[in-house]
């Protein structure tokens, strides 16, 4: 009986995902605005990234301030592999995942034994270190200028991602696939182990859970999904730039998580949409973007004191998956 319910849940999620892709595929026929497609591509990239960070922050209680390092690593590895080697796009994709995973094992092994705020700052330091390397290793990364010159051989299974519409549908598919996979992860026994560690690490250890293994595993998994988000961004901007590995990238993801709702699976994705919409609307209205955004954040944060989706869930009488404190 139990596993039957689990299976229903999975099919329901997959159906919803397919529906989303189908709807998005049709929309440009009705609204042919290029800006909309750009928005969805950016949103896919950032939503994957923010959701991956929430595996750490919301589900495991590991507040990383430097998760952007894996997003940036994704953009740079992917762009470099495409520009400097002759490998096909899917191969570059997989190699980038591998590079990210290996880096994440090394970084994670150092960071996960630190507590709370120390973990947060060392992850940030790790990201800033990587950023410094990118800036100073001009020969490889182009330094301040970034990797210009575009992404060649943009084809996957015969589909040319050089065409805007194709990239748009591709990014939607990647987003849905990524979200489904992460959804699956949090719904497994491993996902339950994450929540146990977040709630009470000591108790989890005394139930036989090897805490460091769970933490390291989730650190690597979330890095890999962040890297996927980075690769989508790399295709969108046709290269890789230092801004994509700098600290505000991590800041954006944290912002999206807290705004959207730390305790809801889709909270970070919703938060990403809010952030990008604010970004686009506000920059069009005023040159004082920071002032306007800051006031909006304060209104949200002090008004709701929790993420939008958590707020809605609680209002509907539900219980969000994670506590706020």
């Amino acid at each position: 009986m139990a596993s039957g319910m689990v299976r229903t849940r999975i099919w329901r999620d997959i159906l919803a995902g397919c529906l989303l892709v189908a709807v998005l595929a049709i929309v440009p026929a009705l609204i042919p605005a290029r800006a909309f497609q750009d928005f969805v591509i950016r949103c896919s990239s950032m939503a994957l990234f923010a959701t991956s960070l929430n595996l750490l922050v919301g589900y495991t209680g590991l507040s990383s301030f430097g998760h952007g390092m894996f997003f940036g690593l994704g953009t740079y590895s992917f762009a470099l592999l495409m520009q400097r080697t002759g490998v096909a796009l899917p191969v570059a994709f997989l190699l980038t995942l591998l590079i990210t995973a290996v880096t994440a094992v090394a970084v994670g092994a150092i960071c996960i034994r630190l507590r709370l705020i120390y973990f947060a700052f060392v992850t940030l330091a790790m990201q800033m270190l990587l950023h410094s390397v990118v800036i100073s290793w001009v020969g490889l990364t182009g330094g301040d200028q970034g990797l210009m010159g575009g992404i060649p051989r943009r084809s996957v299974l015969g589909v040319d991602l050089g065409l805007q519409y194709n990239l748009y549908v591709f990014s939607a598919v990647v987003l849905v696939a990524g979200l489904l996979l992460m959804r699956h992860i949090v719904n497994t026994a491993f996902g339950t182990s994450l929540r146990m560690i977040r709630d009470n690490e000591v108790r989890a250890a005394f139930l036989g859970i090897v805490v460091w293994r769970v933490k390291l595993t989730v650190f690597v998994l979330s890095a890999v999904f962040a890297s996927v988000g980075g690769m989508v961004m790399s295709l969108f901007v046709s290269g890789a730039y230092p801004e994509l590995i700098n600290w505000p990238i991590s800041g954006d993801a944290i912002f999206a998580i807290v705004m959207g709702g730390i305790g809801s699976f889709l909270g970070p994705a919703v938060g990403t949409m809010i952030l990008l919409l604010l970004n686009d609307v506000v920059t069009r209205q005023t040159e004082y973007y920071g002032l306007a955004l800051g006031l909006i954040i304060l209104a949200f944060a002090l008004g709701l004191r929790r993420g939008v989706l958590d707020f809605i869930t609680e209002r509907l009488g539900g219980r969000p998956a994670g506590g706020i404190s």
Partner: protein
């Protein structure tokens, strides 16, 4: 079942546990008593792998488990509950127990199948029933009463199907009536589940009422061991501990 030889743990200059040698026979219900600071909790922490001893040996069911990790010791069949109830506050009682059952079945790293897997839910309810928690199965554990939280903590330990269960002050912070309620449940558990049970307790009525054997710790050393009658008659215990008025009463 559990054999401890020459166990020693120092914190800085303070000897928390000094050269303790003790046996716990299978199927016994043993109380550990002793004044505050006697090293009782440290003793539990040493057995369960929370801290590593400076010297000495811990042998469980014929196997040397000294220095093993917490998780490794749990897998060998030693479960525990804490003085301050320890559980997963964002989960319901049922979810808490399902998580523990899944962990016990070695599924905690399973990324393949959905949670909970076949049989976990049923087993969790069984465990809840053993401690009378089945009526509050769907209550958020953070909202449980203090007594029920202590029961949940014990239930988590029990979900591991341990052969030995360590309970650190199961009645801490409870009123007199609640205490006996809890002790009744613990005693029934011990009888029905074929457990070796060791518990720390301050209430002498409880200790002498239910324990089949008693160990007295004082300043990190074993002061006495034996049946309740032997302990009652032991002059050293009377002088050091029972002779003075009850040194502390958490209630």
């Amino acid at each position: 079942m559990l054999r401890i030889a020459g166990l020693t743990k120092r914190f800085g200059g303070l000897t928390a546990i000094g050269d303790v040698t003790l046996d716990f026979a299978a199927g016994t219900l043993t109380a550990i008593i002793g004044p505050n600071g006697a090293g009782k909790s440290t003793f539990f922490n040493l057995i369960s792998g929370a801290i590593v001893p400076d010297s000495g040996q811990i042998v469980f069911q014929g196997e040397d488990i000294t220095g093993l990790s917490r998780a490794a010791i749990v897998r060998r069949g030693i479960g525990r509950a804490f003085q301050v109830a320890s559980f997963f506050p964002s989960m319901t009682v049922a979810e808490n127990l399902q998580a523990a059952v899944a962990a016990h079945r070695g599924q905690w790293a399973d990324l393949g199948r959905g949670f909970p897997r076949q049989g976990v839910r049923e087993r969790a309810l069984e465990v809840a029933e053993m401690l009378g928690l089945h009526d509050s199965a769907h209550v958020l554990s953070a909202n449980l009463s203090h007594g029920d939280q202590k029961l949940l903590d014990i239930a988590l330990g029990l979900a591991l199907e341990p052969s030995m269960l360590l309970l650190d002050e199961p009645t801490a912070g409870m009123g007199p009536e609640e205490r006996w309620n809890m002790i009744e449940k613990v005693q029934r558990l011990w009888r029905l589940q074929n457990l070796t049970l060791v518990f720390i307790e301050h209430d002498m009525d409880i200790v002498f009422g239910i324990a089949s054997s008693i160990r007295v710790l004082c300043y990190g050393r074993v002061l006495a061991e034996g049946t309740p009658d032997e302990i009652r008659a032991n002059p050293a215990v009377i002088e050091a501990y029972l002779g003075t008025p009850d040194p502390e009463d958490d209630a």
